[in-house]
Subunit: 300 residues, 2 copies
């Protein structure tokens, strides 16, 4: 923990390197809202609660340094579930050398409640914001989109039994820490956000904060393929489905952006325009307005 | 927010002064565990959720800089309740110039859930820990003890109607930020903790982390008086009742400790001894072992 005293005192003490500033993100994950015990293994639930925060740090080009977990468990929940939840959490945190620096447990009147804080740092003034994009910038996305939401759709339709290992996009999505860091270090990204609520919604956030509009080429969107059969998911999941935790970023037109960064595919999907509207383009043939469709977590 | 970009991006960016390190504390507050809508006004609930974290920063001798609120509200909760909760939260945060730098809202399947993160800072290596006390050090406590728990007892016995303004110890406890800072700056405190779980439990934490035992003079304990009649509360509330948010600290025997710091009464209640046990003393007449009695929040 970089010389911090860590867990056990009234607060965690975390040192950040000279010339860095602190990044903080907090995410509340609720049973039956963000995960379900019948659908998700405890390990997957623990992983998914943490990835939300790590991905936010990635989207700033930051380095995650410490995580805090507040866990409220209903009476009668098997201890083994809590143990496996923590195992999933710690397996992901250790992959990124992030210490569990604090947190507590409580009894929940109903359902598992996990609040996760991730603390990170970034060189002073260098965080990649949502607001730095300009008309003319190209729009890029890492990895593939829609895999997580399409898997959730399979789970809720219960048409088939699902093996978590065959659907890592949903059960074990990875935060793009390295990609985010490299994009920041190389001064490539003018603006960045993670795709947690879905492409249409997160692109709308970036456009709003930067005061720009966008054109997306439908054909260019990297659509995820899921399951053993590697079937491509429906376009609507790639456009509006959340929880992929890929990075959506923009770069000035002249910048060279490699097609692969830190082993992760990077795809240009469109460009920013003046105005505030977003459009979907089918080559030069068709142009329709793209409206942000809020990605709702599943409901009972 | 000290030059931070604040709310609205993927993370909050918080600058901390040169030569400082970060303090982080996180507290999950649950309806019917930490507060009840029939007992607590929404303003009081908002205040009480935040004071937990501010008090943890005070106990390190730190300065709180930013707060984060994740709030999950059950469907059907009146918007006015949420508004007044936030008002209570913000009234307290603004008293200490702490910005609300982030957070989010979600729908809760059952009951109000509030997770509060408080971010602060302290000069590098200067945080007052629980582990710095030595045998022979004197033990001090700020303010009075037991007022919050005794009020809770009144609420649960429902013997009388209660006006929140007459019972500020419970409805609007104040974090001892200034006292903590002065104790740290003047190098007075060898160890410090806040009294959130009750004197017997929090003293046990300090003793355990410092590897010492303690003797407490019963007569010296500053017992709170509550209500309009200012009736002194039962000793057991002062010994074991939680949520007073006073500071419990130790100082080497030679140090001069004023009887009032930043307007708050400071009382010597005992001294640390070798060994690991805690004792209650009645002058020179009697000596009985003091066992930590876990302060349980109320249960349905």
């Amino acid at each position: 923990l970089d010389g911090g005293t860590g867990i056990g005192d009234d607060c965690a003490v975390v040192r950040i390197p000279k010339g860095h500033e602190a990044l903080i993100t907090t995410d509340l994950s609720l049973e039956d809202v963000h995960f379900r015990r019948v659908w998700h293994t405890a390990e997957s639930a623990g992983h998914r609660c943490l990835v939300r925060g790590l991905s936010d740090i990635a989207a700033m080009g930051g380095k995650p340094r410490a995580a805090f977990l507040s866990l409220a468990l209903p009476r009668g929940l098997p201890q083994s579930w809590a143990d496996r939840f923590l195992r999933g959490f710690l397996k992901l945190s250790s992959q990124f050398k992030v210490s569990l620096a604090g947190g507590d447990t409580a009894e929940s009147p109903s359902g598992v409640i996990a609040d996760v804080v991730v603390f990170g740092s970034v060189p002073k003034g260098k965080a990649v914001l949502r607001s730095g994009a300009r008309p003319g910038d190209s729009i890029y996305v890492t990895g593939e989109l829609g895999g997580s939401a399409a898997t959730l759709n399979l789970l809720s339709s219960r048409r088939k039994k699902i093996r978590p290992d065959d659907f890592p996009q949903h059960f074990r999505p990875m935060p793009r820490i390295e990609v985010g860091r490299l994009l920041r270090e190389n001064g490539v990204a003018s603006a960045m956000i993670d795709v947690s609520d879905g492409l249409s919604t997160d692109l709308a956030h970036l456009c709003e904060d930067s005061g720009v509009g966008a054109e997306i080429q439908i054909k260019a969107i990297p659509v995820a393929a899921i399951g053993k059969s590697a079937r491509a998911v429906d376009l609507r999941f790639a456009l509006h489905g959340g929880e992929d935790y890929e990075l959506l970023f923009t770069a000035p037109r002249g910048k060279t952006v490699p097609s692969r960064i830190a082993g992760v595919r990077v795809t240009q999907i469109g460009r920013l325009i003046r105005g505030r509207k977003m459009f979907l383009l089918q080559g030069d043939l068709a142009r329709q307005e793209l409206l942000p469709q809020g990605w709702e977590h599943f409901r009972s």
